[in-house]
Symmetry: C2
Subunit: 313 residues, 2 copies
């Protein structure tokens, strides 16, 4: 149990949001029922000026504004991203400079689609250990750049950034009650990236969906058990969206009503590690998620990673 | 102050260690005095089978052996590497599978040459927060692959892996007394990697050396002040080696005798984030570092990062 406050959430979507009708033609045209089954209506395509650090900074500024905290007050910045990779320099120091947070420690994480929740776990540990007081965790992804042009992935993969401000004993905002992380290296080879930079899956899609469902159910069970809660106590499940197939597998594995599951998948596509904070921003903004309501978030990522968090906003 | 024990250190060097006489010719031949000034006598070149995860596993097995700990007892694995980069999957889950540590959380860090000490800081925070009991931190680098063939960098950059086992309140081994991390995003652009994958430096070498010296002196000052120590209390300084120029700048900035500074730079070259644990393994093995002696390690990395740790082994 911790006394970590969640004092701000923010998101950024690219200026260029592409509706299905405006997508470039696919190698193999899909009929309307298949497009409906995929379930994404639009997705963002980041421009040259909307890089990982730049989108992260936009999302972070919204989150810091909600937290009423100047960037200069930050002690820790964790930036998750797997869709742009460099040797050196990484993106977090650039984000630090863009925000103006010179006193902070800033570093990058990957952990694929589970990166945001891994970052939340890291922030929790640094805050709980007493070393830092105020942390920013951002997921910023240009997932669209990992879809082969002409492939079905161009319908599904989108770009976005989402951010969360966490503070030790802030006495305001929501509360990060607990988190859970898991790594399953035995599934290391199930997905990778081609030499051209495109996502490839090496197992059947339904097998991947089942693995995602099992992993998330396991993480949820551990979090609930440790906190003496049941799924009945949870107001909202805000999972990493993945694909429609993953969402069905997760709902099946957890055995919850689809009404309890909130994602922004239809509006933004699969934005990888940015999915949870961008969904939070949307549903808090719409008044759907209310202060004090208990939220369970969970994500899986190729590696294989699983992660979860239990919190209020 | 913490009660984190350091129970094992290990290292791995590639089978293929290249002496100066066996290096491929440089674009511009160097005279012997210049080669002596550079200061590296041999360096490892990893083979195809000596990947980031494979070298890390070898170093980890040595460290776990010293710690008398089975890999299956690990809760946390942090793997630092910047010299091989992939989108997905990353290397830490593969390391987890190679070691047989299925109950652990495993993820990758970069932070360039400061990656190992950033990993130590992360492990400290997870152990201190109470979440985990036993952590493995590994730096594994194929730095030679980032040197343009024919460039002077081929003399300097080498491959290696080094590992450390940290345990909460183990009641044996050395003690991780404190750590310090810093990030300076304003120096983001001073080095990068060309499209071909080679290191490029965009400031003058002596300016880079001075920045490294200042950064390490600052980290050391913060660690010493917080722990009410002076440099006189430190038995050994085991820094990231960098280059001979960086080493001189660090010794100048700290104002310590070169006899107090231990690096394995001449024997392995600049092995980036593997430099500190591989040096520890060597100097502990030689009996130079004795149990209970107080060690200050510090590193800088392009990003710009700085990190330090105060410990006994």
């Amino acid at each position: 149990m911790s006394s970590i406050s969640i004092t701000g959430v923010g998101a950024y979507l690219p200026r260029n949001m592409i509706a299905n009708a405006d997508l470039p033609p696919l190698d193999t045209p899909l009929d309307p029922s298949e497009i409906e089954r995929i379930g994404v209506a639009r997705r963002g395509w980041a421009s040259e000026s909307e890089g990982i650090a730049e989108m992260a900074a936009e999302a972070a500024r919204v989150a810091l504004g909600r937290a009423k905290l100047p960037a200069s007050a930050l002690d820790l910045i964790v930036l998750s991203n797997w869709t742009q990779r460099r040797y050196i320099p990484e993106f977090a120091p650039r984000l630090q400079a863009l925000l103006g947070a010179p006193g902070s420690v800033a570093f990058d994480m990957c952990c694929a689609c589970a990166g945001f929740l891994y970052g939340v776990g890291l922030a929790h540990s640094f805050l709980t250990s007493g070393r830092f007081e105020r942390a920013l965790v951002v997921g910023s992804e240009t997932t669209s750049k990992r879809a082969r042009p002409g492939s079905k992935g161009t319908l599904i993969l989108g770009d976005a950034a989402g951010a969360m401000v966490l503070e030790r004993e802030a006495g305001r905002g929501g509360r990060l009650i607990d988190y859970e992380l898991a790594t399953r290296g035995e599934h290391h080879g199930i997905m990778d990236i081609s030499a051209d930079g495109w996502v490839r899956t090496h197992i059947a899609q339904d097998e991947l969906n089942r693995l995602a469902g099992r992993s998330i159910a396991d993480i949820a069970a551990r979090l609930l058990l440790r906190n003496r809660l049941t799924l009945e106590d949870i107001d909202w499940i805000v999972p990493h969206s993945g694909t429609a197939g993953v969402q069905r597998a997760v709902a099946d594995a957890l055995g919850v009503s689809p009404q309890k599951v909130l994602t922004n998948y239809a509006q933004v596509g699969n934005v990888s590690s940015a999915s949870i904070p961008t969904a939070l921003q949307q549903f808090i903004g719409e008044g759907k998620i209310k202060p004090g309501e208990l939220i369970l978030s969970a994500a899986v990522g190729t590696g294989w990673y699983a992660a979860g968090a239990l919190y209020t906003t």
